[in-house]
C-alpha cells in the first residue's frame, strides 16, 4: 500500500513538473524574494547604512524624581514597563499614553542590523522568505498550486481515468496533497539558494566593509543562523498544510480550478484581514480571534506582536503550543472534509476549464 502511494506521488510529480504553473509560481516567488533582498540592499546604501528606519526621535521625559529616554527599540523589545519603573504612577500613565502614539510608526521600524539581514549572509538565506511569509504571499502561491493541481483534473476530465482503474480516491487526493507540501518545501529551498547567490553578489558589488564583515561571520553565527533557519523551514512547511488543505477542500466542493483559487484566496484574505478588526469591536469576541488560523500561523511563525505591542494594543496572541494544535486541527478538519467529499461524490467527465 505504501509502495502504491509512493507510485502515485511519483506519478503526480511526473505530471506536475511538465506543467508551466509550478515554475511560473516559483518564478514569482523568486522575483518577490529578490525584490525584497535587492530593495533592502539599495535602501541600505541610499540611507548610508541607516536602514529603512522610520526613526522616532528619542523621547525624553523629565519627571519629578527621575528622567528617562525612550526609543522605538524599547517599545518593540517590551522594555517600556521596565524603563518607567523609576517614575511615579501618574507619570507612568503619561509616558505610556505618549508611547502608545508611536506604535504604528514603530512597527515599521527596522534597525540597522535588521536592514542588513535581508541581503547579507547568513541571515539573508531565509530573510526575504520570512518577509514573504509575513506578507502571506507564500500561502497564496501554494494555495494557487494546490487548487490547480486538483481542479485541472476536474477540468480535463482526467480524474476518472485513474479512478476507473482502481487507483483509490483517498490515495489520489492524499498523493496530491503530499506532493503539494513537498513542492512548497522545494520552493523554500530554491528561494534560499537563490538568496545565497544574490547575497554573494551583493557582497561583491560594490565592496562594502560592513557587508564583508558579516559574510565572514564566525562559525557560531553561522551555526546559530542556520539552526534558526532549519527551525523556520520546518515551521514554514507545517504552516502551509492548512492552506493547501483549504484550497483542496474548496476545489473538491466546487470541482473547479477557477472557483477553487478565487474562493480560497477570498477565504484567506477574509480570515486574515477582515475578520480580526471586526472581532476587535467587542472584548467578548477576543476569544474567537485566538482561534483564527491566521493569528495562530503568525504566532507559530513567530510573527506575533512583541510584548510591547500586545500591551499597547490589548490583543492577546495565542502561544506557540496552542498555535501548533490549532494549525493541526484546521489541517485535519479540512483534509478530512476534502477526503470525505472526494470519496462520496460522483466524478463526471471533462468540465472544459
Amino acid at each position: 500500500m505504501i509502495a502504491h502511494f509512493l507510485l502515485l506521488i511519483q506519478g503526480e510529480w511526473f505530471k506536475l513538473r511538465r506543467r508551466w504553473l509550478p515554475w511560473v509560481l516559483l518564478a514569482v516567488a523568486i522575483l518577490v524574494s529578490q525584490t525584497f533582498l535587492w530593495g533592502f540592499y539599495v535602501v541600505y546604501h541610499v540611507t548610508d547604512g541607516k536602514g529603512t528606519n522610520a526613526f522616532i526621535p528619542d523621547y525624553q521625559y523629565q519627571g519629578e524624581t527621575a528622567s528617562i529616554d525612550l526609543t522605538c527599540a524599547d517599545l518593540l523589545d517590551g522594555r517600556i514597563e521596565e524603563r518607567v519603573q523609576s517614575l511615579s504612577e501618574e507619570e507612568r500613565l503619561i509616558v505610556k499614553k505618549e508611547v502608545a502614539g508611536w506604535s504604528q510608526e514603530c512597527s515599521e521600524y527596522v534597525s540597522e542590523d535588521e536592514g542588513l539581514f535581508l541581503f547579507v549572509m547568513p541571515s539573508s538565506i531565509l530573510g526575504s522568505l520570512v518577509l514573504m511569509f509575513m506578507t502571506g504571499l507564500q500561502f497564496l502561491l501554494i494555495m494557487i498550486l494546490s487548487a490547480s493541481m486538483l481542479g485541472s483534473e476536474y477540468g480535463w476530465g482526467t480524474l476518472r481515468m485513474a479512478l476507473s482503474r482502481g487507483m483509490g480516491r483517498w490515495q489520489i487526493l492524499s498523493a496530491k496533497l503530499v506532493l503539494c507540501v513537498l513542492v512548497g518545501a522545494g520552493w523554500f529551498v530554491v528561494i534560499a539558494l537563490v538568496n545565497s547567490v544574490s547575497s554573494v553578489i551583493a557582497g561583491i558589488i560594490p565592496p562594502d566593509e560592513g557587508v564583508s564583515i558579516i559574510v565572514l561571520a564566525d562559525g557560531d553565527t553561522w551555526r546559530s543562523v542556520l539552526s534558526e533557519g532549519a527551525k523556520f523551514f520546518g515551521k514554514a512547511v507545517y504552516a502551509t498544510v492548512p492552506y493547501i488543505a483549504l484550497s483542496a477542500c474548496v476545489v473538491v466542493l466546487t470541482q473547479s480550478t477557477a472557483q477553487g483559487i478565487s474562493l480560497s484566496i477570498v477565504a484567506y484574505i477574509a480570515e486574515a484581514m477582515v475578520v480580526p478588526p471586526l472581532l476587535a469591536i467587542s472584548e467578548r469576541l477576543e476569544g474567537i480571534r485566538e482561534g483564527l488560523l491566521s493569528s495562530n500561523v503568525s504566532e507559530w511563525m513567530s510573527f506575533g506582536q512583541t510584548e510591547a505591542q500586545v500591551a499597547l494594543q490589548g490583543a492577546e496572541q495565542p502561544d506557540t503550543t496552542q498555535a501548533f494544535f490549532v494549525i493541526l486541527a484546521y489541517s485535519v478538519v479540512m483534509v478530512g472534509v476534502s477526503l470525505w467529499l472526494f470519496q462520496r461524490r460522483d466524478v463526471s467527465g471533462a468540465r472544459g476549464e
Binding site: 502504491h4 507510485l7 502515485l8 511519483q10 506519478g11 511526473f14 505530471k15 511538465r18 506543467r19 508551466w20 480535463w156 476530465g157 482526467t158 476518472r160 481515468m161 485513474a162 479512478l163 476507473s164 482503474r165 482502481g166 487507483m167 483509490g168 462520496r344 461524490r345 460522483d346 466524478v347 463526471s348 467527465g349 471533462a350
Partner: protein, 306 residues
C-alpha cells in the same frame, strides 16, 4: 474461474427526479464481446460509470469478477474509456500512457510503444495530446484501455470521430480483444457495428433493461421472415402469391416483391409461380437486422414508458 465478469442486481442511479438507471439487472459472461445498446440518454454511460466506481449507485448492487467487496482490486483488472477520452493536454500521447503505466505499477516502455503502434498512432506518440484530432484521441483512449492487458475492457463509443478505415481497424481490434478470456463491454449507437462485433447485447431504454441475449437469437425472435424476389411478371406473381394461405403478405418494394413467409418455403414460391408460367429471376431471404430489432423493442419500451 468466474463465469460472470459483471453482475448487477437492481442497480439504480437517480439524479433528483430523473432515473438514469432504473433497477438494472444484467450479467456479462467471460470471454465475449458484449454490446450495451440504447438510444441517447438511455443510461449506457451512466451504467458504465457505476460499474467503474465513478458514480455512486442510489440503490442496488453490482460485482466485477464475482467480487462486490474490494472493488478497487477488481477495477485494477479493468481497462476503460468512457465518453470522450480525457488526457493531460500538455503531455504527449506516450507520456500520458507512461504516467498511467507508472501509477498502475510500472512496466517496460516498449509495451507503450507497441500499444501506440497497435492502435495506429505510430509516429504521433510524441506529439502533445492537445494537438490530436478526435480520431487520434479515440485511438489513444483505446491504447489506454488496453494498458496492462486487462481482463475486462469497457469501450464507450470507441469509433467516434474515426474515418471509415479507422472504424474498420478498430472493429477488427475489438473483435480480436474478445478472443480468449478477455471480455469487452462495448457501448455504441452504431448498430451495424455492434452486430458485426458483438456476441451478445443488452438493450436499455430510459435506464431499464428491455432485452438481453445473443445477437443471433434476439434477431431470430424478432419480426417476420421475408423473401425478396424478382420475377418475369411481378404483377401476376403478386396475385398468385397473395392467394396462398401460407403467405402472410406480399408488398412491392422498389422493383421487387417482398413476400412475408417462412424462409424455408422459398422453393414452394418458385414452384407456385412456375406453375403459372411466371419465372423467378432473383430470390433472397431478408433477415431482420439488429437495427430493426432495436428500433422495434425501443419503440415498444417507449410506448410502455409513456
Amino acid at each position: 474461474m468466474d463465469e460472470f465478469v459483471i453482475q448487477t442486481d437492481g442497480l439504480t442511479k437517480r439524479y433528483g427526479n430523473v432515473l438514469a438507471v432504473d433497477n438494472l439487472s444484467m450479467e456479462v459472461r467471460r470471454g465475449r464481446v458484449y454490446g450495451l445498446l440504447g438510444p441517447n440518454g438511455s443510461g449506457k454511460t451512466t451504467t458504465m460509470g457505476l460499474l467503474l466506481g465513478l458514480l455512486k449507485p442510489s440503490s442496488g448492487t453490482f460485482s466485477l469478477f464475482g467480487s462486490s467487496d474490494g472493488h478497487e482490486e477488481s477495477l485494477r483488472r479493468v481497462g476503460a474509456i468512457i465518453e470522450s477520452p480525457s488526457f493531460y493536454p500538455y503531455l504527449s500521447g506516450l507520456q500520458n500512457l507512461k504516467y498511467f503505466q507508472m501509477i498502475f505499477g510500472g512496466g517496460p516502455e516498449e509495451d507503450l510503444e507497441s500499444l501506440i503502434d497497435r492502435v495506429g498512432l505510430g509516429g504521433r506518440g510524441d506529439d502533445r495530446f492537445r494537438t490530436y484530432s478526435l480520431g487520434m484521441k479515440q485511438r489513444l483512449g483505446i491504447a489506454y484501455a488496453l494498458l496492462g492487458d486487462p481482463d475486462l475492457v469497457f469501450l464507450d463509443e470507441p469509433t467516434n470521430g474515426l474515418d471509415p478505415e479507422g472504424m474498420i481497424e478498430v472493429r477488427e481490434l475489438i473483435r480480436s480483444l474478445g478472443d480468449g478470456n478477455r471480455t469487452v463491454l462495448l457501448s455504441s449507437h452504431l448498430l451495424h457495428e455492434v452486430e458485426q462485433v458483438c456476441d451478445s447485447v443488452t438493450i436499455i431504454s430510459n435506464g431499464k433493461l428491455i432485452a438481453q441475449g445473443e445477437v443471433s437469437q434476439l434477431v431470430a425472435t424478432a419480426g417476420s421472415e421475408r423473401v425478396r424476389t424478382k420475377t418475369t411478371d411481378d404483377g401476376k406473381a403478386r396475385q398468385i402469391l397473395s392467394a396462398l394461405d401460407w403467405v402472410e403478405d406480399v408488398a412491392t418494394d422498389e422493383d421487387s416483391l417482398l413476400v412475408t413467409t417462412p424462409i424455408e418455403r422459398s422453393s414452394e414460391i418458385t414452384e407456385a409461380l412456375a406453375h403459372s408460367e411466371v419465372y423467378v429471376a432473383e430470390m433472397m431471404p431478408v433477415r431482420t437486422s439488429l437495427e430493426e430489432y432495436f428500433l422495434e423493442v425501443t419503440a415498444n419500451a417507449e410506448d410502455g414508458h409513456q
